[in-house]
Symmetry: D2
Subunit: 365 residues, 4 copies
């Protein structure tokens, strides 16, 4: 089920970077949700190429068309198909890559697996595939907001060894994230990140970094005890994005150096008598199930694999050679990955919202 994600709020993406287009079919969306192409476009615009000097210059308007499932501005409960046409495809840039495998890219493994590959622009491994995710995520966000006031905010936490430390997870806003082109709400650090990316771009090299995502107002009870723990589904969602190499929830790897008495989140009762935790090393999830605190997760993105610098590689025909990649590529994927991460988190939470409602709200407690 390579291209299908979710159990109840289920999406099916399609499309290659060069060809007729890319898109998504959303199955299982609740009916009577108000939604417009314009709302979806807002998130697509945050993802699209060519939006700033530190992203790929490929020009795609990425305008989406809702083919089905919405009638008079509301969801019908039937599949919502959304299509984005490919426009500015320069497949001639890829002639060399048709035969030479890009190091650390998907070229060689696709050939090994399928015995065939659309070598134009990365084909299915292109980040254009995430257009469908972001479009579906926009609808998931809307449902989460409407049902429970859920807020999902992702932002760049570090680029290479430049790390933002001055971010308040309880108050950080979308506006702060969008206030600069690297999407880091710590504006002083953001400037340094932008400069570093711009410099590496000129060197025909690339950079990686980490994203952090905080989710506020999560209802208690989402997630399931065993395989579909909320953090497990979030991990899969994030690790399914291109270029990810790591995932953390709450205290993450750093938490392994604490003792239990240091790490545990002690309980107290808030003014409404609801159990809350003093600290949040759990990252909003305990035993696989949300506890009502902020969900906090981080993702590691490696430096972009496709670079203009010459590297050793082999050809499809079995010869050792070198490659200095042509084409237009992001020197650093993180700024554009922000809406992708938000979308994946939204898809997981919306799916679990429906699942929890089905099993646990059928009969009143």
């Amino acid at each position: 089920m390579s291209s299908i994600f979710g159990e109840l709020f289920r999406i099916s993406t399609f499309g290659e970077s060069h060809g007729g287009g890319v898109g998504v079919v959303i199955d299982g969306c609740p009916p009577r949700i108000e939604i417009s192409a314009e709302e979806i476009q807002e998130d697509l615009n945050r993802r699209k190429p060519g939006q700033s000097k530190i992203t790929t210059p490929r020009k795609e308007s990425d305008l989406c068309e809702i083919i089905s499932g919405v009638f008079e501005g509301k969801t019908l409960g039937t599949p919502i198909a959304i299509l984005v046409r490919n426009k500015d495809a320069r497949s001639q840039d890829y002639d060399e890559m048709a035969v030479k495998y890009r190091p650390s890219h998907a070229d060689a493994t696709y050939d090994a697996k399928y015995g065939i590959r659309n070598w134009q622009g990365g084909g299915r491994s292109s980040a254009r595939e995430t257009i469908g995710r972001v479009a579906a995520g926009a609808i998931a966000k809307k449902i989460l907001k409407q049902v429970a006031g859920v807020e999902i905010i992702a932002y760049v936490k570090s680029i290479k060894d430049i790390e933002a430390t001055n971010i308040n997870q309880d108050t950080v806003t979308l506006e702060q994230v969008e206030s600069n082109i690297v999407r880091c709400p710590d504006s002083a650090i953001a400037e340094k990140m932008i400069d570093l990316i711009d410099q590496i771009r000129k060197e025909k090299d690339s950079l990686g970094g980490t994203l952090e995502c905080v989710v506020r107002n999560v209802p208690r009870g989402l997630g399931e005890p065993v395989f579909d723990k909320l953090e497990a589904d979030l991990a899969k969602a994030i690790m399914s994005l291109p270029a990810t190499k790591g995932f953390e929830i709450g205290s993450g790897f750093a938490g392994t150096t604490l003792t239990g008495s240091q790490h545990n989140d002690e309980f107290y009762l808030d003014d409404n008598g609801i159990p809350r935790t003093v600290t949040n090393r759990s990252g909003g999830i305990q035993g696989g199930i949300s506890n009502g605190e902020n969900i906090v997760l981080r993702a590691a993105f490696k430096p972009t694999a496709t670079i203009g610098k010459e590297q050793k590689t082999v050809s499809k025909e079995g010869e050792e050679t070198t490659l200095a990649a042509k084409g237009r590529h992001d020197p650093c994927v993180l700024p554009r990955a922000v809406p992708m991460v938000e979308a994946m988190v939204a898809l997981v939470l919306c799916d679990h919202l429906l699942r929890h409602h089905a099993q646990c709200n059928l009969i009143e407690n």
Copy 2:
């Protein structure tokens, strides 16, 4: 689906820590695989409690019975049901925990989700649930070994801030891992780890750490391009284990501080003309698909939540109180988590082996 995992090699676990027992049903296993309860028992014995001074003293023989799906020593292709009875359950230890929520445990979230909870010993959130996974994993390992010679070796990489550095991923053996009770193949470091765990046990506190798993002889082509990338399914598998807080593949979080030209794995041709990579920062997976190099992953396990030290908490009835947990608990879960990680990795790889065979080997290339 909370307790079902896999698409083709699909397992369904059941059972609480106290009650009739725990187990698993495996659906979709290939027929004619030789398997015995004894072979499965070997891995269960590595997971069972009471095996050393640094694990919980709860005494469970964890003897497994194969109820169905095996006939005259071979798999039938029909569901394999495996049952392990619970024996040494001391539910009286849990009287206090029936009303007081353990900090950072699943008690409170289970109540919030289901409005009911088996408070005896953790119920479904107990690590006894992983018995079914380990049993199924033993069969998955056997298939992977038989079909492709795949070897899966997990081991303790760090406990708190003590980290093993002297491990050769190409040569480390099961025997080396099993040579000490902490399951760290770096024997000098292992001694220090054991001492630290033994000390923290006496302090009624607990420790966390990291596991590393290396998989050798992985066929090229396993994994799928988009949501079911091999690293995404591995991340979900690992993050579905109790107490995990983080996941890394290949270079992981450390890889984010390199540039693309530093991080990329350059290609060369081996003596058989097969494309190989000089380095392995990809961790054996590129574009979601295995490339034939070692798969290398790491998991972060937090310190055990249930500790004997007194902590602030709240009761089910809505009162602030304190709890010093009774019961028998692991001061550090990592030694017993080693076979769990191996099992989850085996389940993911075996599932993808079948999936790849279905789609890509149906018609000869």
Copy 3:
């Protein structure tokens, strides 16, 4: 997935007719449902062998044990595992059938598919597999009754060419069905059916017939528009029972001889202003979705394949031969199929109840 059924209320059955036992794991059951082994046993007793002179004389008490998922008499929301041990297995009866394929049975196709087969008593193709379905169905029935007052009544409609015609679908009761051993609520016809079955049993031959099932008080809105139409999922559920050859909903095959103006169910408003239909040729489902009228379906069961009469067949070793089957077999499966049909219908409806609740009741209309 061969042995997994349902999307949200999902069951996984296991077991062969000879071996450790048979059973089921139910995943996704709502929490806090009162359930006891005794309640489940009631339906198992209606299914078990040896209950009358017209069923197989094999003696199995079929006592069920709830292994997990129920605590202090209520469901936990975690997997419910139910186990029934095999007792009166006489595998020596099957020595001949180990090598000779029974005509119209699963022996030859299992060998062709798997290259291995548990030849003792039918193995996985035995009707004992349905024990797990009936046990799970008992819980599904309880949920449907509790949530919406749903009543599911199946009964024998015809045996060979003897057909009951005097049954009122609005009023027929479980007591009427259980008032005779053939489970036909038309008592005059039932006598004739019993006599015919008893006679064919003595002739070492077998009979088939049809079952009808009526479901009352079905909530409107269950079922989905396209592939998971309610009648489609019911058809699959029924046709997955051993020995079924046909399925009808509402007017069925007879409806094909009417014109549209004759066949359509005209609408009227009942006293509460709810749209109802004057007739019910739709069988309670329109466009794949329940309309609140009685769901009415019928299933065709072929005569039992295993018979004592000598028949031409071939052996596993590739020789033409003859076989007069030993062993204890039902001369007619229909009386024991009644609780199986009820169970499958309950499983489908309970699953769709949860699915509908998830998608359409999340947000108030």
Copy 4:
């Protein structure tokens, strides 16, 4: 999963009868299959409206566009998205039906389920939804033909009480089926059927009937023992088509009037020593698994619900009224249902071909 079908060869359809268009995404298709839009169009043309005097006069060219998943004429192994735009939509015909429920149609149940409905032309319940199925079925047919020489031939067996009896299942061809507009290969009977449909069309009424489908050269071993029996999945596939009321495999309902000794298919060995059956009352499937004989199934289609004759109904606003439907509708759906049935059968068989290959061909016997 209303709009997703299949486990490995998995399709996801989308679209309403009026709106942007309809289509399908196919996930899991084997790579390197030669396929063109022209080949798919052939089956779409057999399904499209306006093809003869006995179908609806709505004019739709139903031209398909392959958006993704095919490169240089071959499948990539990635999702294949196919889109057909809606053209000749006359939504003004549906103004009255926006408020009045058509008897025996999906109007009322959609409103009951979703609280919203695209009332233009049936929306999602329109037979236009089957375009995606037929397009995907064309690819499934090609794979089945290429891998095993499988031939799938469906045809009209009866219209009202006119039944074709002179059809040889071993030799009937697509050309014979396509030789007349009602798609009945018994040409004498076909004439009578056409006349009857033409007459009922003038009376503003409609007709039903039965389709038969024969599948030749089916590999032995397809299908699974329990819930996913081949006949169960075929039943679901067929009963998910609009207007179906019944399904039979092999002897069907008529088989219930035979005794076991009459009904059983005795075995013999063919010239290659392969077990074959003298008769085929099993319809090519035993124990849920194909036995290599012809698969033979039948489906009952009710008369078209939408008719021009005046009928009693109720309005959305809760008033009793009458309706004489405008719009352009098929007086009998069966001629156009022929490619739909073939497509659904192909989808089931292709899915099971992959599933069987995954589980049973991984390791050599």
